[in-house]
Symmetry: C2
Subunit: 455 residues, 2 copies
């Protein structure tokens, strides 16, 4: 969608270098890591301050230009694709850690900080920001998407860490929401309204995040099982027992096969659980591990690798984090459709079994944050082959419908974007109308990440 606008007007707001309509720049901001078709924006800008963001947004409002926030482009549902063109506001030059408050377990950051960089910087104070989606996501993108990942089973999602935000509204007005107290009952919970709104209600420029102390001791376990059901039942038993793993990941045999092939490993190619436990007391940890081992054995575990040290543990998570990339590399030329349903834990085994059957005729990989009831089904296929891709999308729809039947959600952590907006009505029913009214209230011209969230 080409607009006949004088983009050079933007250079009255930002210096030349920070406004681009160059083709390669537009291409870089036309897609995320999903199969969804790229769409070029009209212009990309790199602000440095909230004030600049506000001025850019006022300009866009006057010119009726769509505004799309951009973090690292690592999302998986087409969330930042500028489907109606417009102005992409890239936050990569707003990447400063403004202030660490180690004494309060808090940090103030600009939206463009990469969470892995943040955690490196925080380690010197013995602190960390737990949500851990794997990719090199920015804090702004994580807040926009309410990202979670492998640590959320213990520590919760991004929404649980947002204390205070600076938000630029579609009007260009700048508001500060939240405060730095550990708790508050003051006013409507505006930080929660913006978190997970995928840039449709405003753009987040700064955030104060809650932090957690790095655990003193941890222990990682890899357990393999003869069947998927044995593995998923184990997840349920461990969580049911009130144990609190800091990670609890499921990977099916297909995933293990690709990881071996892609990373030159020789891991058992059986349904696998990767678990991590952490705590203050080593003795306490050992007691927990004994209990975990007992549960695994009752579920007919084939093998159990326990007490993995720091290095091997880091490598294990690195491998887990590379799952998506490894599978994509293994099937060069094919496109990924990744599902992301989450269900109550009691339904997890059924959900995984149903999914496995649903994709039996496809090139499919099952893995996910099992302790949260979150399963990813990754199907690799050819988007150009209409018949096959229709079948891929049908499997996705059936899996989502089953998750909703189980009182779950169509997306545990990847968000709605353009991949899941077709399920919003089924999932939210009459409350979707309220979401639309909130959107119309804040963004009456529908300029903020238009074409997302709502059909």
């Amino acid at each position: 969608m080409t607009r006949n606008l004088d983009w050079s007007e933007l250079k009255t707001i930002l210096d030349d270098r920070r406004v681009s309509t160059g083709e390669s720049v537009l291409h870089l901001h036309s897609h995320d890591e999903s199969f969804h078709a790229p769409v070029l924006p009209d212009v990309v800008v790199w602000p440095h301050t909230t004030e600049e963001v506000s001025r850019l947004i006022r300009w866009a409002g006057q010119s009726k230009v769509p505004v799309i926030g951009w973090g690292a482009g690592t999302s998986l549902e087409g969330n930042p694709i500028p489907v109606q063109g417009g102005m992409v506001i890239d936050f990569n030059e707003m990447n400063h850690i403004i202030d660490v408050h180690p004494e309060d377990f808090q940090v103030d950051v600009q939206a463009g900080v990469i969470y892995k960089d943040l955690n490196k910087a925080l380690a010197r104070d013995g602190l960390f920001f737990p949500p851990d989606p794997g990719a090199a996501a920015t804090i702004g993108g994580m807040i926009g998407n309410n990202a979670s990942g492998i640590r959320s089973v213990r520590y919760g999602a991004t929404k649980d860490y947002v204390m205070r935000l600076v938000v630029v509204l579609p009007s260009g007005d700048v508001i500060h929401v939240g405060n730095r107290a550990r708790k508050s009952s003051s006013g409507y919970n505006l930080p929660a309204l913006f978190t997970g709104s995928e840039g449709t209600l405003g753009l987040i420029t700064e955030a104060t995040l809650k932090l957690v102390g790095l655990p003193v001791n941890f222990m990682a376990v890899r357990a393999t099982f003869p069947t998927i059901l044995n593995a998923t039942t184990t997840v349920y038993q461990i969580m049911r027992a009130g144990l609190a793993p800091s990670a609890m990941e499921f990977l099916d045999a297909n995933v293990m096969h690709v990881l071996n092939a892609d990373r030159g490993l020789s891991l058992d190619e059986s349904p696998t659980l990767l678990m991590e436990f952490s705590g203050y007391s080593e003795q306490g940890l050992i007691e927990e591990m004994n209990f975990v081992e007992e549960i695994c054995q009752q579920s007919s575990a084939l093998s159990l690798d326990r007490g993995i040290g720091a290095d091997q543990r880091a490598r294990l998570w690195e491998i887990r984090h590379q799952t998506y990339e490894s599978i994509n590399r293994y099937h060069t030329g094919l496109s990924p459709l990744i599902m992301d349903v989450a269900v109550p834990l009691s339904r997890y085994s059924e959900m995984v079994e149903f999914s496995k059957k649903e994709v039996h005729d496809l090139t499919a990989y099952l893995f996910g944050h099992a302790g949260d009831g979150n399963i990813h089904v990754l199907v690799m296929d050819d988007t150009q082959d209409k018949k096959r891709w229709t079948r891929v999308e049908e499997s996705s729809r059936n899996i989502v419908m089953k998750a909703l039947e189980f009182e779950g959600t169509c997306t545990g952590e990847h968000g709605i974007g353009i991949g899941k907006n077709c399920f919003m009505e089924t999932e939210h029913g009459e409350s979707l109308a309220l979401m639309k009214r909130l959107k119309a209230l804040l963004d009456p011209d529908n300029l903020f990440n238009p074409g997302k969230f709502f059909l």
Copy 2:
């Protein structure tokens, strides 16, 4: 405010017994536990179903009658006082535990369930709902207020436990928000919008709550200190060390004196910390306690009562929970103004010191959920003595202003009601305008708990 309406019309919606304009009933629903002046509603109704609530609300909308939700009347900021009269919807006959999902650590309840009753029922499954404000509050009231209490230092506030709500909007429409998965990135976070909205945006009739497994082991400690500063520094040191108490309460010497007098105890009348630690491993707990003891000794603790057993622990919390009532009883004839600021932990000692100085000329008690940076200053005085009461209110204002200067909040857990709406603008600045627009969007006739929240 008397209305010339035919309240008997309501008897076409509910049977006779569940509609009352009787004087004693109106009186019971005219006040909470604060000093704020009572105001009589026009009518009180007791629905049994969401459908009945919806019909009542549609009737009120057509007749332009204010609607006020009523739980147990235990709030402390005048939150449910029907300051413009109208219809009080009392949820006490919607008090069923609908379904326990022990396998998912979840429960579905009607809004009128008392949380203490809920926890009694859940104990048989080894589960509990952690927010613990002390009074006999209902779940609906706790959600409306985002209540917290002594366990929130470890487990968070009510907002952290709300998974799904049934809400009747001011239009009378019924919406279901949220789902039963442990995590979700689907749509705007509507459960969070209604939680803490104090009945100004809609009424909650049912909720699905997240639960926590009852800890296997716990240990309680009572430590006394020569000065307040020694006590508050200890709080900071313990939290800073990354220890995770399941309660961390501060009580000043005045409070200990009243508790002794009112409850026939003989506790040290010095600044006191009550702490509880809990966990899976007894050995792990002992290690934690050794560390806590060390920190207390470094802060010149006068005494340290450790390893208190289950009975004495229960009694200790019972005493703590009675603090408000004990102090009120001790000063019969005087009225309570209770402050509820919360600040970042690093500012807690300063905040408490400032507060102590601010109320030096008043009959004042300091206590609070120290681990959360939450301090209650309870002043007992005569509301009829204009000069004195003006001084009481001035101290409250000064304490709130200091908390806001420290990047805290005017209310950690009691909510806004009519006691704190004068601070909304200072605390929220430009984001208050957005709150007002949200209110106008959902409740254009301003019938839901009018006169609250906003000035």
